[in-house]
């Protein structure tokens, strides 16, 4: 469900890769969760969830779809959806070919539906999980006016709903290759939380098709903190080793995991 378009973009003098910064930051967003589920093709969110589990001392359960060992479903594909509706899943990750300022996501395509000029895979579980999982983290590694749009062409799942719609869940944060937004459900807008090292507010503005809140009165928008040395070691060691089950290529090429480790 997540299209990971991660490249080898090192930050801060090569100390820490973008992926590692994201893993650390997303793990922070998952603090206090009892159960985090991660969709297919999501190595960075998967690594972040495993890091959150480690930091919780094992209190956070992690289910990684598509992995045999990192999930325990025995009732077929429907079980994750049933768990979500029961409130047994606290966090999930979604992405979008387009994401707009109201938190709407589009996984279907560009142009007028149904004969769209660009057609993506489809909505998968988004039109359900986005309503039911309290902390949905939007994750997209291409932050551009093509992806961050004023209004999506097709609403796979809306960011907000009418008051009478049963909706315990929704967008919690949006993290990209440039910055971290949180979503304010009251004003139904994103708020810029931090900008990744090496990037600027102007760059974020230039590449974002929607308006967003910028916290004012406390100086410049803070930089997204990089993981400290012990956390980095953890990511490159234990986490890399665990995520190598579903994502051996990612673990090796991005986190430097060797099979022998």
């Amino acid at each position: 469900m997540i299209t990971a378009e991660s490249g080898p973009t090192p930050t801060e003098g090569g100390e820490c890769r973008l992926e590692e910064l994201l893993i650390d930051r997303i793990a922070g967003l998952l603090e206090g969760c009892r159960h985090v589920a991660v969709g297919v093709s999501s190595p960075i969110p998967g690594s972040a969830a495993l890091l959150a589990r480690h930091l919780s001392g094992g209190a956070t359960r992690v289910s990684v779809l598509g992995s045999r060992h990192l999930q325990s479903f025995t009732d077929g594909g429907v079980e994750i959806f049933d768990l979500a509706a029961q409130g047994r899943i606290d966090a999930f990750f979604l992405s979008g070919g387009q994401i707009d300022g109201s938190g709407n996501i589009n996984l279907v395509g560009v142009g007028e539906y149904p004969t769209q000029k660009v057609r993506w895979s489809g909505s998968f579980g988004s039109a359900y999980l986005y309503y039911l999982v309290p902390r949905v983290i939007l994750f997209r590694l291409e932050h551009s006016r093509r992806t961050m749009v004023e209004k999506v062409d097709f609403i796979s799942a809306p960011g907000t709903s009418d008051r009478n719609v049963f909706r315990p869940g929704g967008p919690h944060a949006l993290i990209t290759n440039l910055c971290l937004f949180t979503f304010d459900r009251d004003v139904q807008r994103f708020r810029l939380q931090s900008i990744h090292p090496g990037h600027t507010l102007e760059e974020v503005r230039d590449n974002t098709g929607f308006d967003f809140e910028v916290p004012s009165g406390f100086g410049p928008v803070p930089a997204t903190p990089a993981p400290d040395a012990s956390c980095l070691a953890l990511i490159r060691g234990e986490i890399a080793s665990a995520i190598a089950d579903p994502y051996p290529k990612f673990a090796a090429e991005v986190l430097g995991h060797t099979a022998a480790a």
Binding site: V40, S41, G66, T74, D75, G76, G77, V78, F81, A85, L107, V108, G109, Y113, P114, T115, Q116, K117, R119, W120, S121, G122, S123, F124, G125, S126, A127, Y128, L129, Y130, Y131, L132, F154, I155, S156, A157, P158, S161, D162, N164, V165, F166
Partner: protein, 275 residues
């Protein structure tokens, strides 16, 4: 009964008439690729394909080969091998009737079918363009709530569920282990046509350890042995997806000519070689 049940893959394909509504499971758990290739060879037309709940290579092949009229799915993708090229072309050309869904909605429709219910309620959905384009879905007020709208989805009852099992027995029982969505498909459909890696002696239902993972033959009306019948996709407990082949497909299928060549080589050619 037992004797009529077991036939070859092309005879299975011959039982699926033009215009049939067929269900196929997602890539990871029991796609009957041999049977899909046989359907393309027999030039089936006008299929309504229900993806359970998403589609991949099999669906892309059927679309590209002109077999599909209606596609009901939560997604079509070649996963790490990229977008599904024939699907994309067909959408742009407007040659598919699209019923875009979301995974749990497909499961809910099949569950209604399994239970002989006219519909199942489902949370989520409201206010999405998915729901806006599904005239067959309805919203009611939750009879147990107070101003609580909830979607109701009609039963999905495929004419045929087509699947590949890792094992079968001579009675037509199929072992699918913990891939329960395949069991759901078989329950929901009027008939199930299956291939299996191998057809073993004995009765799978008599094996206490395996029984929990068996589709009983009450649902199965045709069975063919097909070793490697999911290739180049994988089958749990068997083989894994053939990445090289999928990469090749993704490349060849980028345009119609290449797609045609792929069919010649791997669908029609395969048959020719076997003759």
């Amino acid at each position: 009964m037992t004797i009529d049940l077991i036939i070859d893959v092309d005879s299975l394909a011959a039982r699926v008439p033009d215009g049939a509504k067929i269900a196929l499971v997602k890539t990871t758990g029991g796609v009957p690729m041999d049977l899909v290739r046989a359907l393309i060879r027999r030039e089936v037309r006008g299929l309504h394909v229900v993806c359970v709940p998403t589609g991949g290579l099999a669906v892309d092949l059927l679309i590209g080969a002109g077999c599909v009229e209606t596609l009901e799915t939560s997604g079509v993708t070649l996963d790490e091998f990229g977008q599904a090229p024939a699907f994309g072309r067909a959408v742009r050309a407007g040659s598919l009737r699209l019923l875009d869904a979301t995974c749990p909605a497909v499961y809910a429709g099949l569950q209604a079918g399994e239970k002989g219910l006219p519909f199942m309620p489902l949370r989520g959905l409201l206010g999405s363009d998915i729901a806006a384009h599904r005239a067959d879905w309805k919203v009611i007020d939750n009879p147990f709530g107070d101003d609580d709208p909830i979607a109701c989805l009609p039963a999905i009852v495929p004419d045929f569920s087509l699947l590949h099992a890792r094992q079968a027995d001579g009675h037509g029982n199929l072992y699918v282990g913990d891939t329960r969505e395949v069991l759901l498909m078989a329950h929901a459909a009027r008939k199930t046509l299956a291939t299996a890696e191998r057809i073993s002696d004995g009765n799978l239902l008599e094996d206490d350890a395996m029984r929990a993972g068996v589709i009983p033959n009450v649902y199965v009306s045709g069975l063919a042995e097909a070793e490697g019948g999911s290739r180049p996709l994988g089958i749990p407990g068997g083989y894994v997806v053939d990445g090289e082949h999928l990469t090749l497909y993704a490349e060849m299928a980028r345009d119609e000519d290449g797609f045609g060549e792929y069919l010649d080589r791997f669908v029609f050619g395969r048959k020719a070689a076997a003759e």
